[in-house]
Symmetry: C2
Subunit: 335 residues, 2 copies
């Protein structure tokens, strides 16, 4: 039923290997032979068996994308960007969700399914720096995110500290001084939360604004409900604030929801800036000012690096690429 090289070869009157050569673009083939083979391929509808090719060549033509959750719009949009970039390189992408859980991340790395990929893009959210030395990547890996550094892999990330500082400065420039850092994690130093909090502190210090513990609030795991809940608790506790720097957009949407419920106006009473610039930020009410962390640049760079490693540059030193960010100003900060 399925057509193999053998049958194409028979139809074209050449050897199997010649058909293989034509298909793989080998240079020294006469025009006559090439035409005959191409005709036979077209007539029979031949398509290569990728398992056989993979077995022989050691390459599958697929890469894995390991992310926490597609329900999270940031990762869904990142996945879309990765797929577009991968298809430019002729690579298929298969996706594994980890739920952002350390145990599941390790399980996915150890899973035999990963062997279906020539390499993986691994967006770390469960492992942390302590794992960097011990974690074993089953195949060539490019790391995404801010949880692990120096783990012996190329790494693409965003300018978290600089972007967070710029976001906070943006709020300060509006004249706000009681700025909530929404989504901080008290004991995290590296990781998105730690880095963004650092940028926040830097901006406050530079502006001479006192850092207040009660304005730094945890809202794990950064879902809408967490943002809403945290803001409700702040309001209930009577903590005064006039701006929110949400560590991602989803938290920001939740925060806006809670503020709206409380009858507070955005940006009149509270200005809000998010982080990620997901599609929804353009259409929320009010439209959300956010940090565009350079998602397409991240995806394209990561795929390019991975494809290069797979292609054989195994001796190149590991690269750490930080994508450029920009502030996208919208209504939630009075833009």
């Amino acid at each position: 039923m399925t057509v193999t090289l053998r049958e194409v070869a028979a139809a074209a009157g050449v050897s199997i290997k010649t058909v293989s050569n034509v298909i793989n673009g080998y240079a020294h083939i006469s025009a006559r032979t090439r035409e005959a083979v191409e005709k036979a391929v077209a007539d029979l509808g031949y398509q290569p068996n990728l398992s056989a090719r993979g077995l022989r060549s050691g390459r599958t033509g697929a890469i894995g994308l390991v992310i926490p959750d597609l329900k999270n719009p940031y990762f869904a949009e990142l996945a879309g960007s990765v797929m577009r970039a991968a298809s430019q390189h002729g690579l298929a992408v298969f996706v594994e969700q980890t739920g952002g859980d350390r145990a599941q991340e390790l399980a996915v790395l150890a899973s035999p399914r990963m062997r279906m990929a020539d390499g993986i893009l691994f967006s770390v959210t469960g492992l942390d720096q302590a794992d960097a030395a011990t974690v074993a990547f089953p195949v060539t890996t490019v790391l995404l995110g801010e949880r692990i550094f120096g783990a012996g892999a190329d790494h693409v990330t965003m300018k978290n500290v600089e972007a967070a500082r710029a976001a906070t400065e943006h709020l300060i420039e509006l004249g706000r001084s009681r700025i909530v850092a929404l989504g901080a994690r008290p004991h995290e130093v590296s990781g998105s939360a730690g880095l963004r909090l650092r940028g926040y502190r830097e901006a406050l210090e530079a502006a001479g604004i006192p850092f207040r513990d009660e304005l730094v609030v945890d809202a794990t795991p950064w879902h809408r409900a967490d943002g809403a809940r945290a803001v409700r608790e702040l309001l209930a506790a009577g903590t005064g604030f006039d701006a929110v720097f949400a560590f991602n957009d989803t938290l920001a949407f939740g925060a806006m929801r809670a503020l709206g419920d409380a009858g507070l106006g955005v940006p009149r009473d509270v200005a809000i800036i998010g982080f990620d610039d997901v599609d929804e930020a353009r259409y929320s009410m009010p439209a959300l000012t956010s940090i565009d962390p350079g998602r397409d640049e991240i995806a394209e760079t990561a795929v390019r690096l991975l494809a290069a490693r797979i292609g054989g540059d195994s001796t190149e030193p590991f690269v750490l690429h930080e994508a450029a960010f920009r502030i996208v100003t919208r209504e939630s900060t009075g833009g």
Copy 2:
């Protein structure tokens, strides 16, 4: 470097085939042998070569998911559900985006990458019923969506007509009678838009409310911006309405945005119901009443049907499964 059956066999002091048997759960193995093999597997960290297995067995252990766009939250959430369901069956999922474009859908089906899958879940949005007879699926296929019927494949879809009718009735029960059908497509009969419009008409007729052309508005391709634009145009044209049945949630969010800009209250002036019940519906302001079309049921059923076909039930007649829906009432209809 990579460990093969040969080395495990040597370490365990048995034949290659015995190792293979242990790994594949063959029944008649002595406890002693099984333990020895399992120890060798663990010691050496053996993992099967999936290309070789695929070549030999004709199965890759992966399925393809063909969808328009991960940026669309409905499809992102569907993809997440599909992956959870697939991993229950031990299947990897790779995703292809088509942009909802007919030419790209055909291109993806013809792509050699599809041969990496034992089967595909194909969410059709570009092809239409006229293609049903001619389209050739490269591998076992389960269709999703409402564009094509009777194309010689299992098919999982939702109760569009019934759900749309229920949505419209819900608005009517609130006392609304000038209900916009947002996202209709004038010349579509089957397809989501056609079916949902039919349910809308049925509900109006049953309630004795006249059908008005000016309340049926196109908003292709159902993005937030399209919903916002369509509502702005309605308002600008002075068309009076007191409710909106948006054919998906994204349109509904856009519509709410435009209404808010115009100073109209939801649900006070205009009640809104959406369709899809994406995560965001719970957190929009106001929270959006929506139709939950049974996404998990769709994903689980589709994966189960596909896995069964792959497993060999090639003679079973094709199934058309319609998932159950329910209305999730929230603030946008005064819940």
